[in-house]
Symmetry: C2
Subunit: 353 residues, 2 copies
């Protein structure tokens, strides 16, 4: 079979072998890990465009240069000895949900679990830039990773930029509130530019485009999303859920990079009617917020559960996908199929659903 270029639109819901190669490399977070405020090690999502590079901690150096007065380099030991802070920050891939689009842009086929929350410890980017002495006329700050490969027919290190204003913000060690592509891993250099950065991952990829050939809008901050821990027990293959008839607790987490989470709603009828969930206290201003509600699952039958988040800027999750050519910013509500009743073959003909 011939390989097709990333971005090709696929009509079939079946996944190509190339997409499978990406899906097995780039780990999703199993939804049951939503139980934990900080995602357990190994369950956080991973998106790595190229390969994980080999980095020797003994010889690693970070270069800071470009449009600055005092370019310098710093090794890992020196970096670790600087005053650090720790922030709990939720990360999400900009392409989360892409595999649910129809047609589907060929790329990493996320279903909806490309998310995780970690406690990030490090030094602020502003302190590094102050030490380098940013010169007048600085426009963008470019972050270059050690990971290299070919994308869009361009041989590249993974590189993204921030405007000088965003780079100088206090909370930036990672970039809270922005989609995952912003956080360059295995950072090799920080380069201040006196012009806009035109690299592939900045100028070409990561744009929300609904009209072919249009420049589109750059992807920046995370749109709101709520996810629930699927209740009951699964069927191995279909992942259909079985819940014994009872009044049960539904729990999950919700986040937005565009404001605080102000509301989470729950539906057990596929979004026809909604009830309000109870929000837990904030873990950090940059992390997801826990929510809980009660579902009166006493009547046997088949149900479609949904959750919907609203943030303080008035952004609400849509019921349908916001289709676009790259399959980014797809924050349509989660849908979980559940059978209330015993998990055996007479009650639940799994294979004929």
């Amino acid at each position: 079979m011939r390989s097709r270029a990333a971005g090709t639109l696929i009509e079939s819901p079946e996944i190509t072998p190339d997409e499978l190669q990406l899906a097995v490399r780039n780990h999703s977070m199993p939804l049951e890990a939503l139980r934990y405020p900080i995602t357990p090690l190994g369950l956080h999502y991973l998106l790595i465009h190229f390969d994980i590079p080999y980095v020797d901690p003994d010889t690693y150096e970070l270069f800071i240069g470009g449009h600055v007065h005092n370019p310098f380099r710093v090794n890992l030991e020196e970096l670790k000895s600087r005053p650090a802070k720790t922030l709990a920050v939720t990360f999400e891939c900009a392409g989360n949900g892409r595999a649910r689009l129809a047609p589907r842009p060929l790329s990493q086929p996320w279903l909806g679990e490309a998310v995780g929350t970690a406690e990030w410890t490090g030094i602020s980017l502003a302190s590094i830039l102050r030490e380098a002495g940013v010169r007048d006329g600085a426009v963008d700050v470019v972050f270059t990773g050690l990971d290299r490969g070919v994308q869009g027919e361009v041989d590249q290190q993974y590189e993204r930029s921030l405007s000088i204003e965003d780079a100088m913000r206090d909370e930036v060690l990672v970039v809270p509130g922005w989609y995952g592509m912003t956080h360059v891993k295995w950072l090799r250099s920080i380069t201040v530019l006196d012009r806009e950065f035109e690299g592939y991952q900045q100028a070409r990829a990561y744009h929300f485009r609904t009209v072919e050939g249009d420049a589109g809008d750059p992807v920046t901050r995370i749109l709101p999303r709520a996810l629930m821990v699927p209740p009951g027990v699964p069927d191995f293959m279909s992942r259909m859920r079985f819940v014994e008839a009872a009044v049960i607790t539904i729990e999950g987490r919700a986040w937005s990079g565009r404001g605080a989470i102000e509301r989470v709603e729950f539906s057990s009828d596929g979004g026809a009617s909604w009830s309000e969930a109870k929000l837990e206290d904030e873990l950090s201003p940059y992390a997801w917020r826990g929510w809980k509600t009660t579902w009166n699952a006493t009547r046997p039958g088949e149900y479609e559960l949904c959750a919907r988040a609203t943030d303080s800027s008035g952004n609400v999750q849509p019921l349908e996908q916001n289709w676009n050519f790259e399959g980014v910013q797809n924050n349509a509500v989660q849908r979980i199929h559940v059978i209330v009743g015993p998990a055996d073959r007479e009650q639940a003909p799994v294979d004929s659903l």
Copy 2:
């Protein structure tokens, strides 16, 4: 789309949405992690039939009972206070490579990276069984996990057994040399039986069957396999590799549960000719063995790299798949497609390969 039952044979190389749900939950080990003798946290493969259960370490108890003189229960603190040993053991899923079969049995669609090596610390199973006092006539020892779901239309906790002879072996805390299904996670109970265990995962699943309706042979010990770190840099979507013309080192690891690794061979022409790789010292009798070789990649062009392991029992990896109805024990040689030459569009028309 209607869900199909696990085991259904799929003719198309395209992956069904149900398989994708499993692929995103069950993490593969990125092949570049073969660089490390012990797989870094978070990169070891995961195969979880149902959900990851919530386990409270403060209330967790393990029950030991059945055909024994002194059934007992033990909590996590007590378990941790017992004399422990540490073993480096390589785990591999029995279904590793399944997605490369044609037709393909519907199940977890592993490509070939369902492997990892950890240092496991714990107490020996034999010491637990001796404390319980196994009664005469014991046949099997059943391990029951806290994870529950439906498979083959059976509502079940995940359960597997070992014969009493295998269970009493000295090195068994995990079960070195056996495929991954043997190692029951989130262990709730150990039950000694005076008869053969007939549970779903033991008597029905995990059999090598080439004739429909045949009972088949139970899956037990791991067949040999060698994997290499793919050289050069990848194309994002096709994962095709680009290597600059040079004499380069190829490295990887090889393992078998049926004997020591005695030989690893390398081919750069798709298996038409082979050269011998150099084996590194053993890490542990139960873990993969490092290997290295030199590839004279000085001539631009397209290559198919292969590695092939032979163990001390004379088992050799086949060039073609050993097709079977469950897609287990597929240890055909790895094939990596590489272009020697610059990684740009003129030299390497990735999208038209």
